[in-house]
Amino acid sequence: MPDVLVRVRDLKVYYPLFRGFVQRLLGGGARFVRAVDGISFEVQRGEVFGLVGESGCGKSTAGRSLMGLTPIEEGEIVLEFPSASAKPQFIRPRELKMACVAWWAVSAAYLATAIYYGVSGSALFPFGLVATVPGPYVDALGIVGSVQVLLGLALWLLRPWSRRPARLVAGIGAAIAFASLPWGLLLFGVEVGILVYLGTPDPSGLVRRQGLLLPATKFTLTKDGILEGIPRAEQQTWFERWFIGPRTVRTAGFSWVLKQLRGKVQIVYQDPHAALNPALTVGELLRHALQAHAPIAPGGTRASSRLEEVNAKALKLLDDVGLRPPDQFFAKQSTDMSGGQKQRVVIARALAPKPLLLVADEPVAMLDMSIRAKVLELLLDLKEKYGLTYVFITHDLATAKLVCDRIAIMYLGRLVEAGEARRIYADPKHPYTRALLQAIPIPDPSRRTKKELPKGEVPDAVFPPAGCRFHPRCPVALPTCGWEGRDFLDYLEERWIDPSNSDEEAALGPIEDWKSEDLGASRSVRKGDPEVIVARVQAALKEAPKPLAEAVDRVALELDRVVVSFRPPARLEPKEVEGRIVECLLY
């Protein structure tokens, strides 16, 4: 049994920013929100792993990426689960096969008619629909017939995977058939039948017509989609091997791999009010979840598709999450319940497919203080009972301290400190971790202290700061931490808030006249005396915080601009410090 359930390596998740196309032409291509920008961590079996940070630090994105819900820009996630049964399950999609045969029969009739007319010139149409058949229509019949045969073949070959491409093929067929009216009417009927069949929601949820389902145990999520561990060459159809290769199954279109993954990894969201469909009763909600992921028995029927069994399971789940008496809650509408009760239903639903990993994204943040503890306790109990592993996402370090075995603290897409929770809380190493811990309000009026808070707010993840991303706010930053042009401008702007510096503002301002480019900031000297400007800048730098001032390489006149340039930052790498990983130049 593997001890490491999840292994994340150098994961980067970027979301494209929507920009007008002209802006893109002018502004140098697409821009991205670097939600997660190169993080690595491992989650052990049976532990509670905390991802902690402020909003916009990428913790939720990181959690969601474990479910294959986000695009991956770089890096990989490997999830390895112990396998329940190693035997692949085959299902015979008998009805679809029959439908395909019917399709071919009609296409063949088409072709035969065309050939017949092609040979014999003109005669009575066999079905007596039309007396004479003009020449071009015979050609059309032949073409349509051949295309339909090919489409039938495509349908046959696509049948093992998913409904969506099959539906597309059948749709194209139906459209062609319809276009060749009136001869296509019959064909059209058959194809619409297939469409309807493919389109009908499966009463048991999962795609029943899939050719084979394998209990996958290892999933690798990368830029190219989900690579899935188990299917060995001999268990694939020749078409799979031919077109898709032995192991890769892309996410798009081949949703069953994703479904398999979702059966193993489930998520509990922050807002229980939004997560539950208000039109359904609790029982219905759970039934849907149970049926969608029920194991499939050979022959295509579900082991547990019988209603009583499903209901019994749903009741058991309700009992497990502490909604008692379960039968009373079973019939309730979720709108009639309090936030805490709703969140329990959400948890029950997440447990329905018997997941091994539960991503809990701020599960108690929306709940009232007096019931938070209950829900946290429940989550911890369920972990023991169901043998779960948690990835617990939160902004609240105090909660994380109570429930997590190991934590990773994120800032602006990076992991700044990660390791055993006990050690980190006892002695936080990273300045950001310290700041976070200090900011937590202490519910004890006799211990009021003045807090030394980092200034400013989390910067925009589209343009993260150079070097260490925390440097503009870090109270103990060094000159090598990544100071750059815009830090200088922010400093000036902050300085000019005080009216006492207004003469400096008059000489150097307004701030719009300055341009910042990576390591430099510059200003045209057309307005004002260059000597004075340089002198003023140097005077301002003298009063600047030490690390910023010391990071300045030079202040110089270049052509008609005054340029303040900074030295390049030192390389920043995660280091092992006293039993945890820290990413900071202090160590």
Binding site: V22, P459, D460, F463, R486, E512
Partner: protein
């Protein structure tokens, strides 16, 4: 914090650059739909015969050329302003349209005025008196107006105000006893004022009232619903409550915050409304014998006068594009978030 000052100018440039492709797509669609429509113009004129005469006309009209040649030719003609000649009257289509365009503009502007005024009034009244009698009544009025067939409404207006009460004439743009004012803009109301003929102006306005009311009121129904929905939303917005908490006078809160914010979606919808207005103009102009483009299109359709129809539709399309650009820029001007 990066300073990405959104500039209105950049937005306008971008919007104008996008207009080129948009016009091209629109023109292509017009071309395609007119070609795909059943029947062909020559058959329409000569009946279903296909003799040498029809053949020669078809050749002359270029109907035997490959489609792409026809398409290129079509675009070339549009950009040189040559729309061909009407099959029926043999006049130049461009000249015909230029002559009628002012009439349509006069009608459309007047109806838009009516529509916006009445629609805003109804919408604001019902939003501010939500669920009270005034709201119920104005919603009812709006619903009735919105669902009234325009030609029927026009005929009723004629029957009531022109035939029964004889307050207005039932059609035309000017009474017979007045001479058409010297052409400056082609809008009789403005031209007559320019020429200082005050009584002609009164007469032109009197003729404008019925068709403008017909078209405008039907649209007002649409506006009223839109304004009401958006007002309700913005009246409940957080910043409205915050403004109230700062002691801003209710009237100021209403105009400066609620109404202005509600106007953004409304003015977007106004662009769409122009499309409705244009199609409404066809019916209205027919009912009121208003010699504008709408009536021109109507006659062209009944006569299957393809060049005339094509020319008029192209004009409509270009006007629509122009208006939508105007409205987008207007929106960007009031709402800075659109620019970025």
């Amino acid at each position: 914090m990066p300073r990405t000052q959104a500039s209105l100018r950049a937005y306008v440039v971008q919007r104008l650059l996008l207009t080129g492709p948009m016009v091209l797509i629109l023109l292509t669609l017009v071309f395609y739909f007119l070609r795909a429509a059943p029947g062909d113009p020559v058959g329409a004129i000569l009946g279903e015969h296909s003799g040498p005469l029809a053949d020669s006309i078809r050749r002359q009209l270029g109907l035997y050329d490959p489609l792409y040649v026809q398409y290129v030719d079509y675009l070339r003609r549009i950009f040189t302003g040559d729309m061909g000649n009407s099959i029926i009257t043999q006049h130049s289509v461009a000249a015909d349209i230029a002559q009628r365009l002012p009439a349509t503009i006069e009608l459309t502007v007047a109806s838009m005025f009516v529509a916006v005024l009445a629609g805003m009034l109804l919408g604001v009244v019902s939003a501010t008196r939500r669920d009270r009698p005034a709201d119920v009544i104005s919603r009812l009025v709006a619903a009735v107006l919105y669902n009234t067939p325009i030609f029927w409404f026009g005929i009723i207006m004629q029957l009531v105000f022109a035939v029964q009460f004889r307050w207005f004439d039932s059609g035309g743009r000017l009474s017979a006893q007045f001479a058409i004012p010297p052409r400056v803009t082609g809008l009789y109301t403005i031209d007559s004022l320019v020429a200082g003929q005050f009584r002609t102006f009164i007469d032109a306005v009197a003729h404008l009232i019925l068709p403008a009311l017909t078209l405008g009121l039907v649209l007002a129904g649409f506006f009223a619903r839109l304004v009401r929905a958006n007002m309700l939303q913005s009246l409940q917005a957080d910043y409205v409550e915050a403004a109230r908490a700062r002691g801003i006078r209710p009237l100021d809160v209403f105009y400066r915050h609620a109404l202005k914010n509600a106007m953004v979606p409304v003015s977007t919808a106004m662009g769409l409304t122009f499309a409705i207005l244009m199609s409404g103009a066809i019916l209205t102009e027919s009912v009121f014998s208003w010699e504008g483009i709408g009536r021109y299109i109507f006659t062209a359709i009944s006569n299957r006068d393809y060049p005339a129809l094509q020319g008029a539709v192209v004009y409509y399309a270009l006007i629509m594009v122009f208006l939508s650009v105007l409205i987008d820029i207007f929106n960007a001007w009031i709402d800075p978030r659109i620019r970025y």
